[in-house]
């Protein structure tokens, strides 16, 4: 009698699932359009940034990338590595896809910062908020990403905006967590000093807490970028263009080389983003570990 687990009656289970699905469908029917218009500015921004990146002549893009790498690291090796990676990906015929992917990554990272930073700050302010947000983040990070593609698609259909939202949901937890952690770790005496001189709460936040938490927050941004890159492949299932789509094609058609090339291109971009952002993070805090005169 212990062969089968005593489960809920099949009919009841079916009804339950159907009820939830229908409820959500009804919600989508009545509010889907409204929600879609709400995200209109986002779609415009996405289209604009994609057009900007794909429409700009490649030499200019390479120059800008080299300039950014130099600004971030002040290292010729970094600049050469960065330029070489871009050229290599372009030479293998993936330039346009790469631009689309970079546009997606930049937009989703900006959005993750814009949403994640305030949430992280709120979390650091109150243990109660932390106790509520933390389990939500746990769920977001462990839920298979395919699962939350479903409601996003039901609500917003297939395309860039739902893809972006899926990417942001997937990539935002480290941003929130590390902002919270960074602010909580700020030296108490420095904050006392800020208070003792009569800082307002806002002054304390922008003049003391955020700058002191910046190294940790930078680590959060770095992780967010990496996770966004990983999610780009999955999000291609719901119509996000870029380097992910050929990978998806390669899976269904067993094109090993196509998959490998695009996969390697994603790895290349990831390395460039990672190294450049880390070098920048190190440079803006170089005096923290300074030596005595």
């Amino acid at each position: 009698m212990f062969d089968e687990f005593p489960q809920i009656d099949n009919g009841l289970l079916r009804d339950l699932k159907r009820a939830i699905d229908e409820g959500f469908r009804a919600f989508t029917r009545s509010y889907g359009d409204a929600i879609e218009t709400m995200f209109d500015p986002l779609r415009h921004f996405l289209n604009w940034s994609e057009k900007l990146l794909t429409g700009t002549p490649w030499p200019i893009i390479i120059l800008i990338a080299a300039g950014l790498a130099w600004f971030a690291s002040r290292s010729a090796r970094m600049v050469i590595g960065c330029v070489a990676t871009l050229c290599l990906i372009g030479a293998f015929g993936m330039w346009d896809d790469m631009m689309k992917t970079i546009s997606m990554i930049l937009t989703s990272t900006l959005m993750a910062i814009a949403v994640g930073l305030p949430i992280g700050v709120l979390m650091s302010r109150s243990d109660r908020v932390q106790a509520v947000v933390n389990p939500v983040l746990d769920v977001m990070q462990t839920m298979p990403p395919f699962v939350y593609l479903i409601p996003v698609v039901m609500l917003l259909g297939i395309g860039k905006v739902p893809g972006l939202i899926a990417v942001v949901i997937y990539a935002i937890p480290p941003m929130i967590r590390l902002t919270n952690l960074g602010i909580r770790q700020v030296d108490g005496e420095v904050l006392e000093a800020a208070d003792a001189f009569g800082s307002s709460r806002w002054q304390r936040l922008v003049k003391a807490e955020l700058p002191l938490a910046l190294p940790t927050i930078m680590a959060g941004i770095n992780q967010t970028i990496m996770m966004a890159l990983a999610m780009v492949v999955i999000a291609s299932m719901i119509g996000v263009q870029g380097l992910g789509q050929p990978v998806l094609q390669a899976i269904s058609n067993q094109y090993f080389t196509l998959g490998l090339f695009n996969g390697l291109a994603i790895v290349g971009i990831a390395i460039v983003f990672d190294r450049v952002s880390q070098a920048w993070g190190r440079r803006i805090q170089k005096h923290r570990g300074g030596h005595h005169v």
Partner: protein, 343 residues
């Protein structure tokens, strides 16, 4: 330059814990720190503190670690809220201030120096020194001008664009001091400001503070666990133990008339010759006929008097008050026996 203002601390209690206010009465009736902790899991921080700090004086609060001295100083600018009691400054109770009033009070009336400096590591020296003015809304040019003056005054000229991590501990605390002084607040709070410095630098910084005090005349509350530092700097000293004031007075009072064994034990290793003034141990004039050949001011220390007698080879000094009127006499024997702790 702002006029110095006094601080009156009245019946101040601090009990740490979620229901601290409920136990003030119990503590008042004599519950000890130990009992409160064992039975109610609340920590007694301060018990019935009453200190009057005159305007322009240096008040030292001294005690060993855990005595509540850092807790006490944080009540003056309300970095810590008291459980009950009053802190009166210019007739206003700091305890009752709204957040806005408190912020203005902190901006203009008090400045603080911290044990571990509390500097902002991402800002240069000049940006740190100007912090107080910056939160007040003073514009960039004006605050750099003020900052430079204080940077120069504490001896850091040439270091204004360095970051704190590039400076030694003593130099970092000079930045902390300059930051506090740049505020031009009448009250200066120094929380074990020199405890993290090594002895020679600490002595230097004490000298810097005493020199500055001659110029700027602030009301200074100085926390320390070092008795020598307390005696050198303090116009008045309050001794704290287990959150209570066990004695307050001038350094000389405490050394000559310790209130109990604990204080006596504390002060027994002090070099009394440097603390005790001639005026408080002199004998009346005219015990015997011989008129002393030399004189000494009554606020000179015993060490100075002995040195003077040794140099001239005399055994008696005439003690004069500030106006030059003879008020007593001091024998070499008496001076040495008091300085050695025998009398």
């Amino acid at each position: 330059m702002s006029e110095p203002i006094g601080i009156e601390i009245r019946n101040l209690y601090k009990i740490f814990g979620p229901r601290g206010a409920d136990y003030v009465d119990a503590v008042n009736r004599g519950m000890t720190k130990q009992e409160l902790n064992d039975r109610y899991r609340h920590v007694l921080g301060l018990r019935d503190i009453n200190i009057d700090i005159p305007a322009g004086a240096i008040q030292v609060v001294m005690g060993l670690s855990g005595s509540g001295k850092s807790t006490l100083i944080r009540h003056i600018n309300r970095l810590i809220d008291p459980t009950s009691g009053q802190i009166l400054i210019e007739g206003q109770d700091v305890v009752g201030m709204t957040p806005q009033v408190l912020r203005e009070f902190r901006r203009h009336k008090t400045a603080m120096v911290f044990q571990k400096f509390g500097l902002l590591p991402h800002r240069t020296v000049i940006e740190n020194v100007g912090y107080g003015l910056e939160v007040q809304g003073v514009d960039h040019a004006a605050r750099d001008k003020v900052s430079m003056r204080w940077i120069e005054r504490v001896g850091l000229l040439g270091f204004e664009t360095k970051y704190p991590s590039q400076l030694s501990g003593g130099m970092q605390q000079r930045v902390g001091l300059a930051r506090a002084l740049a505020n031009d607040a009448p009250i200066l709070l120094m929380d074990e400001a020199y405890s993290a410095l090594d002895p020679l630098i600490r002595y230097d910084m004490q000298t810097v503070l005493l020199d500055l005090q001659k110029e700027v005349r602030k009301t200074i509350v100085f926390i320390t666990h070092d008795l020598d530092e307390a005696l050198r700097i303090g116009d008045r000293i309050a001794l704290l133990r287990d959150g209570q004031v066990i004695q307050q007075g001038t350094g000389q009072d405490i050394v000559l008339n310790p209130a109990d064994d604990y204080v006596a034990n504390f002060v027994q290793h002090v070099d009394r010759g440097k603390v005790v003034q001639v005026g408080s141990v002199m004998e009346p004039l005219g015990i015997n006929g011989t008129a002393p050949a030399m004189m000494v001011k009554s606020d000179a220390t015993l060490t100075d008097a002995v040195r003077q007698m040794m140099a001239k080879g005399v055994h008696f000094l005439e003690v004069q008050d500030k106006g030059g009127k003879p008020v007593g006499r001091l024998s070499l024997e008496r001076a040495i026996s008091v300085a050695a702790g025998a009398a």
